[in-house]
Amino acid sequence: MKYSLIGLVLILMGCQPVVQQVPVLYYDMNDAYIADFKERLSSIEKEPLVHIDGGNRVNTQNEQFTQWIEQSSVLVVNPVDRLSVLPMILKANQLNKTIIFFNREPLDEDFSKASFAYYVGADPFQSAQLQTQLVDELQDSQRNQPLDRNGDGMIQLVILKGEQGHQDAEIRTRGVIETLTSKGYKLDILEVRVANFDRTQAYKATLDLMETYPNMELIISNNDAMALGAIDALVDMTWIQDINQNGVIEQDEPWFPVIGIDGLPEAIESMQKGYLFGTVKNDSEAMADAIVQLIDIVLNKTTWDTFTYTIKDRKIYIDYILINRP
């Protein structure tokens, strides 16, 4: 009788996974970027990861967090709201657990309270800086039309902004303006138009902007989706025109410069056909790799000696990659 009870307990315990699973809490798997990132993470296959969808709800993610922190010594968290991570950090301190944040950076005042926490992400300001490098190349390129079309010594600029108040949108917008200014460009910012990272909204906004500002010379977008929306509008209004209909915009055909960020496959294709001028790619492969390496270190499977990324104040910023026309 006693033995059968022990046996039963053993069987029940056997249902628990023997290998420790590391939970990865995503803010929202409906986000194409996150879904793609999940694929990259699971393709590394070094750690048994559990992928958990927060459904874009802070409360849901908090519940998932409290459930998993009991079971795992390390949690990978992509916060739904970067402003709301303080209780997670304190809870992890209380239980001596490690959190690896990624993609959305906690506030420094919160992050500094953590006993064991890391952040893996990209610096949105760097993406803006790389966008200005594209402006430099545009300036130098041997096009039939110069960047300063009206020759007034200033660039009539429109910025397609993601969301008002969105960290990336704010920093990218501000970074582009400040970097261009510091590089000595004279800017005539016609408008900073919010299009919520959305292609259709960007398309409508651009149609409107073309009408309002016929003297517009450059569109810088906070992401590729809005850049593609802008190109849709420009093609519709024949600001960009494939006259010989060979599917490619050549040097002598009507063209208008648009710069994006993200490196979406469709954006890269558009760029190769001569529509989009260039984009900046988030190196999610490296980001996933860095996260897995960090997990290994936290679980004492490897040491810092083999870590291949630069870490400063427990934060790892993965460089953006510049992609422009060949």
């Binding site: 709800r57 802070v58 409360n59 849901t60 908090n62 519940e63 967090f65 409290t66 459930q67 739904v80 709201d81 402003l83 709301s84 303080l86 209780p87 997670m88 304190l90 809870k91 209380q94 506030l107 005042e109 919160d110 910025i159 902004k161 969301e163 008002q164 108040g165 960290q167 704010e170 917008t173 501000r174 303006i177 400040e178 200014t181 800017l187 005539d188 910012i189 408008e191 900073v192 919010v194």
Partner: protein, 559 residues
């Protein structure tokens, strides 16, 4: 254990087994049921309090995102203005928005230096540090409560030629915020607490004890738990509100739900006890039904042991018991019948034996014989006298001395030979008794006095007055029986006469022929149906009476 069980009656064992099984089953069933309900109740508490919190958070988040939307809308309108903002410009913007959104009470705009550029409200002095705070972190909408007023402050970068950071202060209509949690009923001490990022309470709904609430919140930090709070069972949920730096803690009084758990426990214990009482009663009753007939049968057996066969068991109830009692009654009456039969048989045997004896020492026979002896002695036939007296004395010695009913064949032959001698003297040797029995058969046990009456009948009825008659006794061995025959040459009997005689014998009718009937009765008494008496005859030729005894009775068997 086994010894204990052995000492119990069937009824007690049945009772014990039923009670034990029912108790175990009932207890296990109840434990499982209670466990299920207990878990379900906890799940219910957990899910309902989570659900409530989740809905509440959603409402706050909707409110916040509404406010942030308005703020972003204002910022967007202000972002693209190239000129330094004029107060009437912001008022225009504000006026256009307030028409759409009743939530707004007022707006103020600060320039990069923190100086009010435009305002349509009286700005209290406590606002100033918030402006610095907003400038230091322009990524956040800072929500602030003060003097029962609700503000939101946000610095933003206007990406125009102006390229500077401005700060927007919006006062909100707090009543809309209050309305979110206004009508919630969380029970005694149930409350909602909003805390800032320093874990300082900034807003509350419901009665609470601040130090205690803060203590449990600081301990829990996130998630859901059940706890005791001011002697009340509480479900505590701690989470965060998106878009703000706020935390939200909900304390839901779950005493009522918890109480049902203990009520259920008591109810279940009550049901178990009640059911066990019922089961105990029923099984006691049942085992009694099993036990009491057993006891009655046992008592009855005791009476039978004491020799009382007259009482019958009257049984009702279980069909097996009734059947058992019936069988028992039948059995005891059969035993009684058998015993009576035995007694009767014994009496009959005794009576018939006495009768046989009486026949042997029939006074007429003695008188006649003595008379014959007197005649012999008158005629000086001394040798014959001696022979006769010797035969007579042997005859009587044998009749009286031996009280056994079964004797070896040679004794019986000796007896009948003596009889024959006596009768020969009496009947002046007008017959001859010829005994033809093989010596090997001399030890075979036969019924005592079985031949003499037949020889007597042969002499009485068979003798021809003018002729010399032969009477022949012979014995034949069959497979499992011995046949003795007494044959005489005489008048013979008609078949009708034989039939009449056999009828008299079989049906025990009164008759003059006492001797034959007595032989027949004793044969049947001692040997049963295996013994036969047969009469063969041919008119004017012969009569032969054949007795057949089974061999399975020995001399020692006789009673």
């Amino acid at each position: 254990m086994n010894n204990i069980i052995k000492k119990l009656t069937i009824g007690q064992t049945t009772f014990a087994i039923i009670v034990v099984i029912v108790t175990i089953t009932l207890t296990m069933f109840s434990a499982i049921a209670y466990q299920l309900v207990y878990t379900a109740t906890d799940d219910l508490i957990e899910t309902s309090s989570k659900e409530f919190t989740s809905q509440l958070i959603l409402n706050y988040e909707n409110y916040m995102s509404g406010v942030i939307d308005i703020s972003n809308q204002i910022q967007r309108r202000l972002t693209n203005l190239n000129e330094p903002l004029e107060s009437d410009t912001i008022e225009n913007v504000f006026e256009s928005l307030i028409d759409v959104n009743r939530n707004l009470r007022g707006v103020a705009l600060y320039n990069q230096q923190g100086i009010v550029a435009s305002s349509n409200i009286q700005i209290p002095s406590y606002v100033d540090p918030w402006i610095d705070l907003a400038l230091s972190n322009d990524a956040i909408h800072h929500f602030k409560f003060m003097d029962d007023r609700l503000f939101v402050v946000k610095s933003f970068y206007s990406g125009t030629t102006l390229a500077q950071t401005q700060t927007l202060l919006i006062e909100l209509d707090k009543s809309q915020f209050d309305a979110i949690a206004f009508n919630t009923n969380l029970g005694q001490y149930g409350h909602i607490l909003l805390l800032d990022d320093k874990f300082e309470p900034i807003y509350s709904v419901g009665e609470y004890v601040e130090t205690q609430s803060l203590q449990v919140i600081n301990k829990q930090l996130l998630g859901m738990s059940l706890l005791e709070y001011e002697n009340q069972s509480m479900a505590l949920n701690v989470s965060t509100i998106r878009g703000s730096r706020w935390m939200i803690a909900t304390f839901v009084n779950v005493n009522a739900i918890n109480q049902t758990k203990s009520e259920l426990l008591f109810a279940m214990i009550g049901i178990i006890l009640a059911m066990m009482l019922v089961v105990a009663y029923v099984s006691a009753n049942f085992s009694g039904r099993l036990n009491s007939p057993m006891r009655r049968i046992q008592q009855h057996i005791q009476k039978i042991q004491e020799g009382n066969f007259d009482e019958q068991i009257v049984m009702d109830g279980q069909i097996e018991m009734v059947k058992l009692a019936d069988t028992f009654n039948t059995m005891s009456s059969q035993i009684k019948q058998l015993m009576e039969n035995v007694v009767e048989e014994q009496q009959a045997k005794r009576a018939s034996t006495i009768k046989a004896l009486q026949n042997q020492i029939n006074p007429h026979f003695l008188y006649n014989t003595l008379d014959s002896i007197v005649n012999l002695s008158e005629n000086q036939q001394n040798e014959d006298v001696v022979e006769a007296i010797l035969a007579l004395s042997k005859f009587f010695r044998m009749s009286i001395s031996n009280n056994q009913n079964i004797v070896p064949l040679k004794d019986e032959i000796e007896h009948v030979r003596n009889y024959g001698l006596i009768q020969k003297i009496r009947y002046k040797r007008s017959f001859d008794l010829d005994i033809d029995v093989d010596e090997t058969l001399h030890t075979i046990p036969v019924l005592k006095f079985c031949l003499q009456p037949l020889v007597e009948n042969a002499i009485m009825h068979g003798l021809h007055p003018d002729m010399f008659t032969r009477i022949k006794i012979s014995a034949t061995m069959n497979e499992d029986s011995i046949s003795l025959s007494v044959y005489n040459e005489g008048y013979g009997l008609s078949p009708q006469k034989i039939e009449d005689i056999m009828n008299v014998l079989r049906k025990d009718l009164p008759t003059q022929s006492v001797g034959l009937k007595n032989v027949y009765q004793r044969m049947k008494l001692y040997y049963g149906p295996q013994a036969h008496l047969r009469i063969e005859s041919d008119m004017d030729e012969y009569t032969n009476v054949i007795l057949t005894f089974p061999l399975n009775i020995s001399l020692e068997d006789q009673v």
